[in-house]
Amino acid sequence: MDIVNSLALSSPEILLTISGLILLMVCAFVGDKAARIVTILAVAALFGATAITADFLTNPAFELGGDAWAGIYRMDAFGSFSKILIYLAAIGCLIVTPKFFDATGEYRPEYPVLMLFGAVGMGLMVSAVDLMTLYMGLELTSLASYVLASFTRSDDRSAEAGLKYFVLGALASGILLYGMSLVYGFTGSTNYIGIRVALQDGLSTGALFGIVFVLAGMAFKIAAVPFHMWTPDVYEGAPTPVTAFFATAPKVAAIVIMMRIALDPFGGQSDAWQQIVIFAALASIVVGALGAISQDNIKRLLAYSSINNVGFILIGLAAATEAGAAAMLVYLTIYVAMSLGSFVVVMMMRDADGKQVEEISKLGGLSRSQPWLALCMAMMMLSLAGIPPLFGFWGKLVVFQAAVQADMVLLAALGIAASVIGAFYYLKIVKIMYFDEPAGVVAPSHDTARWAVLAVTALIVSPLGYLLIVPLGALASRAAAALFFII
């Protein structure tokens, strides 16, 4: 009976795993010509998993969630919300991918399969309530990501990106594991509840070191300063659809596990880690903003922009409140739409020969040759800068509101003042597209899938997105309440 229940609660992962294995067989026996159908089936599997998870999130019968597999896996609203976001981001990335590789003919059916396994890992991560499950999920995702980063084998930059990502990722995993072993050593448990109970009576120095190492490892994964150095190189080198994937789904998963681990097992000792998070938040905002200014490659710029955004998200974590957690989830949702939209625009930056264009200056005068593309990109950029009435403003607002409610007015003031630095380089892109003379490099794109993804993300980012505030806010609050429920 127990195993049936466990299977039911983890059904999204099981569905994705089985689909992944079957599709792997298809790859092996049918070969490269199956790429298209495998992609479609993978998208269908992700949609299926999304539907199941959405039922978990909204069905009153699952209000309280439930523990599966003897307390190492937990299905709750928090995990479900994050998983839906992850699956949707993965779907968005998958839809726009095949066209990207058309020019080089390097698209292979392994790509969607790797995405599926990555999604399984991320699902496992966000539902993990045990350090071991967490690590399994994290590594499954990371291994899929390393391969994806070097997917274009003929491109040196892609191979370099994969290698860099692997070496630094392995280092991060090592740090994380070391932290976990310290936590286990000083609390006697790998289970979140066990750790929480053990830390209730006070924090020993060893456990403190454990917490610091675990958070440092997490900071690597979410690319927060001072562990951000890999991000620009990997984002630049990896094929653009893979970069779009890195900037969305795994980022969401990593931030969500950081939230869960900070607020659940270490939640009773928030004083111990709050200052780390505050530092990482402010440093990420400032470094992300300053680093982006001198970039002339759009992918590197977006990499710094993602570092910058992680800083804002961490402000919600620094508050260490339920409102802060809900605000982070809202921000993450908007962030996924903004990043996905920006990277889709980057994918559409191709010259007449179909070659990818990455220099920002090549965007010159885009508003005259392709007004709609330029409008979408301008909206993404201004939204990332947090200028109302675009929806990115709402994300920043809720995060800062949470910080103010938690009596961290100074943090909020510093963070928002630093956001003005970031506005500068976002404005630079708008300036190049709208004020400069046409460079005439970017050729029009007619791919329906890309335009569809771009249109959906642009609609979310546009002022119409504000109509989502009520449902999104309600779901995020529910998810945050589930995270705090165990306390």
Binding site: I387, P388, L397, F400, V404, A413, I416, S419, K431, Y466
Partner: protein, 527 residues
């Protein structure tokens, strides 16, 4: 107009027209924009006519719970009403001013202006603090594009400076707003206007709001974005900047800083008066040496806005009314002056004062309008500027004689630079052949300047029309501020009013000197 959501309609009209403009060709966009702004002007006049003077403080209120955390709440009092009317009044002139001078990307240009109109009305009509902030900040985007795409040679620098300067000013205000929402538990502006924040917190909140409004206003020394933005913006952009965007700063002071933080406002009177005094003298002197017409008018705007801030922080009815009339008057006058500059710029493509001269010979009609607006800017009695300056200075005098003295020298300097400008442009000999060959006003330009000239004279001769809707709101604000009002150095004592009319003659002489007249009157009466 019961139940008719007139404010929402005023927001919707430019929005729909803006979207349409993106799809239309140049001429279609021009006519659409003109039509939409005229519809909005008609709605604005309807709003003014149906506004019930002496009625409830907040009228035309609308509310829709579309969002969580803040609400779509609109409503206006007399102060907001007048500023909305000013905005919709200037917009058709802006569209007309861009009719021929904007030839590239007309659809986008008109769309940007219509969005700007939507946001300006939104700022003045918002009754929810976050909604206000969204409208307030969103205005940066269309203005950034207007300056950057259609501006002058140095437009990129000016657009960046405008955007980042104003953004930096505003973000701290957002944090202050979040703190207030957290403390008071509401985002409703009318409620917050009655909420008493602890005086210690008020100081910080006031400073955060000050950072935003002082930049927007702009007050010396954070005014430096204004001359750049004004000079580089296309004519209509300058009109909107000077006419309405600057008023958002003043509106912010009168809507947020004063009623929400009366104690802190009283505490910082010295700061406001000090900065205003410096601003008036310094920027007037700078204006005196300008060679660029737009820059000169831009600096004169800073000087005029300094009188507004000083009037607002006089903590009495005259000061507040004077500041409001000053904002309305300056909106009309400086807008009209920029239009005047635009008219000759379109023909000669230079703003250099020395390139003109003797325009009153070949452009007499133009010279008359230009003279009228110059005089209104100086504050000649009979024009709106006089009413504004007189009321403001009378109010400030109750607080500080020194400030009044210094601000008045600003008016003298103002007369100096404006008359000097006018002399160099319109009088003297026609030293430049191309300037001498310019044509006089055409019909389109008549339609731009005529209505503004009429409004300037109306406000100068019968300001009551404009003061009446605001009177109750300013009295309410004055009552709210009374508990914190600083003691002035003038210590005015109200005299005994005469019982008889001012021109009545004493009885004894009356009988002798005018007996005959009276007799005649009587005899011609009933018989």
């Amino acid at each position: 107009m019961d139940g008719f959501p007139i404010l929402s309609v005023m927001l919707a009209v430019p929005l729909v027209a803006a979207v349409l403009c993106l799809f239309l060709d140049a001429n279609g966009a021009r006519w659409t924009a003109l039509g939409a702004t005229l519809v909005n002007l008609a709605l604005g006049i309807g709003l003014w006519l149906s506004y019930e003077v002496g009625g409830p403080q907040w009228q035309f209120t609308e509310r829709a719970d579309l969002f969580a955390g803040f609400s779509y709440a609109l409503g206006i009092d007399g102060i907001a009403l007048m500023l909305i009317v000013l905005s919709v009044f200037l917009m058709p002139a802006c569209i007309l001013a861009s009719w021929d001078s904007i030839q590239k990307r007309v659809g986008e240009y008109m769309a940007a202006f219509l969005i700007m109109e939507l946001l300006m009305i939104g700022v003045f009509a918002a009754q929810d603090m976050l909604l206000f902030y969204i409208f307030f900040e969103a205005g940066l985007i269309p203005m950034y594009l207007i300056i950057g795409i259609w501006g002058g040679d140095n437009r990129i620098y000016a657009s960046y400076k405008f955007f980042l300067y104003t953004l930096l000013g505003s973000v701290l205000m957002l944090i202050a707003m979040l703190w207030m929402i957290n403390e008071a538990g509401t985002t409703d502006i009318p409620t917050l206007m009655q909420y008493d924040f602890p005086p210690a917190a008020q100081t910080w909140l006031w400073l955060a709001f000050f950072a935003s409004f002082a930049v927007k206003m702009p007050m010396w020394p954070v005014h430096t974005w204004l001359p750049d933005a004004h000079v580089q913006a296309p004519t209509a952009g300058s009109v909107i900047l000077a006419g309405v965007l600057l008023k958002m700063g003043g509106y912010g002071f009168i809507r947020f800083s004063l009623p929400m933080f009366p104690e802190a406002s009283a505490q910082f009177v010295w700061l406001i008066l000090g900065l205003s005094m410096v601003a008036v003298v310094v920027t007037s002197l700078i204006a005196l040496v300008q060679h660029d017409m737009k820059k000169l008018i831009a600096y004169s705007s800073v000087a005029h806005m300094a009188i507004v801030t000083a009037g607002l922080f006089a903590f009495n009815v005259q000061g507040l009314e004077g500041a409001m009339i000053m904002m309305l008057s300056h909106g009309l006058v400086s807008g009209a002056l920029f239009l005047c500059v635009g008219i000759i710029y379109d023909q000669l493509h230079t703003r250099e004062i020395d390139r003109y001269g003797g325009l009153s010979i070949n452009m007499p009609k133009y010279a008359i309008f230009f003279l009228l607006f110059t005089m209104a800017s100086i504050g000649l009695p009979g024009t709106s500027g006089f009413v504004a300056e007189f009321l403001s200075l009378a109010g400030i005098y109750e607080v500080s004689s020194l400030a009044t003295f210094v601000l008045t020298t600003g008016i003298i300097l103002g007369a100096g630079y404006m008359l000097y400008l006018y002399r160099r442009v319109a009088f003297g000999e026609q030293k430049n052949a191309d300037a001498a060959a310019m044509r006089d006003l055409n019909l389109r330009e008549w339609f731009m300047l005529g209505p503004i000239a009429a409004a300037v004279l109306w406000m100068g001769v019968y300001p009551e029309s404009f003061l009446a809707p605001m009177r109750a709101d300013i009295a309410a604000l004055d009552a709210r501020l009374a508990r914190a009002a600083p003691e002035g150095d003038a210590k005015l004592v109200a005299g005994e009013p005469l019982t008889a009319a001012a021109n009545a003659m004493p009885d004894g002489e009356h009988g002798e000197g005018h007996g005959d007249d009276h007799g005649d009157d009587n005899s011609e009466g009933p018989e």
